[in-house]
Symmetry: C2
Amino acid sequence: MAKTDILIIGGGPAGVTCALTARKNYPDKEIVLVRDREKSIIPCGIPYIFNRLNSAEDDILPDKILEDNDIKLLIQKAVEILIDNKKVRFDNGEEIEYEKLVLATGSEPVFIPIKGVDKKGVFVIKKDLNYLKELREAVLEARNIVIIGGGFIGVEVAEEISRIKGKNISIVERASHCLETNFDEEFTKVVEEKLKEKGVKLYTGKVVEEIEGRKKVEYVRLDTKEKLPCDLVLLSIGARPNIQLAKTAGIKVVERGGIWVDEYLRTNIGDIFAVGDCAQTKDFFTRKDVPIMLASTACHEARIAGSNLYKIQNLKENKGTLGAFSTSILGLGLGAAGMTEKIAKKEKFDYVVGKAKVVNRHPGKLPGAESIFIKLIFLAGSEGYLLGGEVMGPESIGETINIISLLIQQKMSAFDLQSLQISTHPLLTASPISYPLIVAAQDAIKKMRDRF
Amino acid sequence: MAKTDILIIGGGPAGVTCALTARKNYPDKEIVLVRDREKSIIPCGIPYIFNRLNSAEDDILPDKILEDNDIKLLIQKAVEILIDNKKVRFDNGEEIEYEKLVLATGSEPVFIPIKGVDKKGVFVIKKDLNYLKELREAVLEARNIVIIGGGFIGVEVAEEISRIKGKNISIVERASHCLETNFDEEFTKVVEEKLKEKGVKLYTGKVVEEIEGRKKVEYVRLDTKEKLPCDLVLLSIGARPNIQLAKTAGIKVVERGGIWVDEYLRTNIGDIFAVGDCAQTKDFFTRKDVPIMLASTACHEARIAGSNLYKIQNLKENKGTLGAFSTSILGLGLGAAGMTEKIAKKEKFDYVVGKAKVVNRHPGKLPGAESIFIKLIFLAGSEGYLLGGEVMGPESIGETINIISLLIQQKMSAFDLQSLQISTHPLLTASPISYPLIVAAQDAIKKMRDRF
């Protein structure tokens, strides 16, 4: 196999989705997917290997979907892209020539330069089966666990471990609230309350000064001089795009960011694309570079690239990333898309907030009734475009946030929402009278009127 | 109270929603809602009064929301509209003058003219508290129950009663499958299988010839000469709009249909609107008159009317009804919006079908994993607009169908769907690689390509 049509480097969600999309769009092309690990991991599933899954192996991304779609899998480490020859070289010396190359090299978790970070017992969330097996064992054995970073990964791991008896879990977060990047305070407070009820200790607005211990970790010392005992420290403070391969080849990268890409995920070099965590994302509203690394965003990019590899045939440009996001913490579903109120304020948008709190059953006496809270941010004034939304409630909010995401992508307004055709059912949704998206839109319209 | 600004006749979801919308849009207007019953019922909740709710009273639509929004409630029966004087007369002789009048008079279940339909023991689903209390008692006492009509109400009631021990339930349906109006066969078959497993007997493709019995119902005799023993017969074969008040006043009505309305739910008479079941709905794609009577549709119309009573200020015309619909049968959620394949064929649309079957968790080994099946109908050719969608799976499909409904309303295509930004989470949704709407769209795109 010295030559192929489409070569994809990376076997995570972006690489796989790009391969599958390319297969559907180019049935006659040969597609090769190369990855450097024997097994691929489902990144978003990692927090659940500690309890709800029985092993790290349960979180493997199956290769069957590749076989079924006639995509050749190669386990090799790519070490060089020879741009002029349109070839990729592997660490065993072999080379493959490509017509189209897609970089889906992903990201690596970052280690912060704090003292003691190199001690035994400090872990990160690495998408590597053997590493995760080791981490799982260590977590099950540990009693005192300190998680540094209260973003969604830190919080998801904390909730998962809190389901195991006898664990003393602490989260240290520099910001004033956990999940602060994704949600406004009405939401983060509820999550924090839930975590605390479950016994997780929260140290928000605090910074780690040192990880102490002889050889192994023993204490995490904060800037407040508090010392948290620990057998295990988990760093979940973010990830860095894997751009070395691209950079070495002379492909353009964004300063302190990922690989530069255009609207169709094309790099500055002909016939080379980049998708997923390794590619730089831009914000939907401001076009600023943003460090959003979500599997859903990665797959979105992969689909755009995968259908436009040979010629632009799917004229749906990448409008920038909304960062649509959902999670589930101790039975509470949470979703966010577009701007939070905090961001809208910071970015100087003139906005109005609409809120609704309703029940997901009608009548409310039906079994399974749970509360849904929704917050929508609209551009103030006559346009009234939806800028962002946050929602919390039962499992169904995982799809509610996709409605919000779609409304934003379609540049829909509070007035559009007011006249939305929706479907409701006593056992599935809120009542048609009080469908939360519409009630929140009407709340915002009222506030817009009150302004004049 | 001989005069008011906005007068709404009818206290169901349409009337209430119109009043609430009017209140938000016209904070200074006096709003009066008149209804002829002491208590209002949540129509979609009625099937659940037999088991999951403890009484018919549990399904009352609370009046508190009216009080909270400064909407005056009047319990009176409107008997005449005096168009020239802009007055409504009640059966106690009193009159109210209005600036704007909204008719939300709803619908009544139909009795078919079969022999024996007047016997004791024959019921319909009437939105009347006392009638429903009586029906509930009768259902709890009955052993053999025959439901005539296998539309969604018939099926929902059958499933609810099947949760009570010792009931022998039969459904007689003229069409070849239950739920045939809303779903294609891939879906109706699954529902029928579930009902049969639960012991419900199905007589599809069969017609009732007579309801036999001395005074009380004893047998339902079919055209096949089968005789189904019964203590109770429930007719659920449809409803008829309540148009008498409008008709008598000389307001235009559609032949064998509801009150004629324009895009903004205005009748042919100035300052008189009609919303909900009593107003004639038109199909989204064909503009044909369709007998769709759903609370969600009614509320949609009520919001358009309620925000445009004095002047058109919400330029979102009523594009015609999609009939977005969802239900839940024995734990299986089902949703449909727009055209089924059957309808697309019948109405001579050139279409392509895309399908996907995925799991609502990733990895699939996570607890709560259930299968989602989705079927999307797209206009064939380069436009590729979404014409309709059907979905079945867990509770979250109640919102998935609202995404589908929105996609249709926005005239989005299979290509748009392919590049949709979505949010996914292991515990809430399918994986980002196999998000069902996108996979089904890609399946359709492939078929479109294969055509050329």
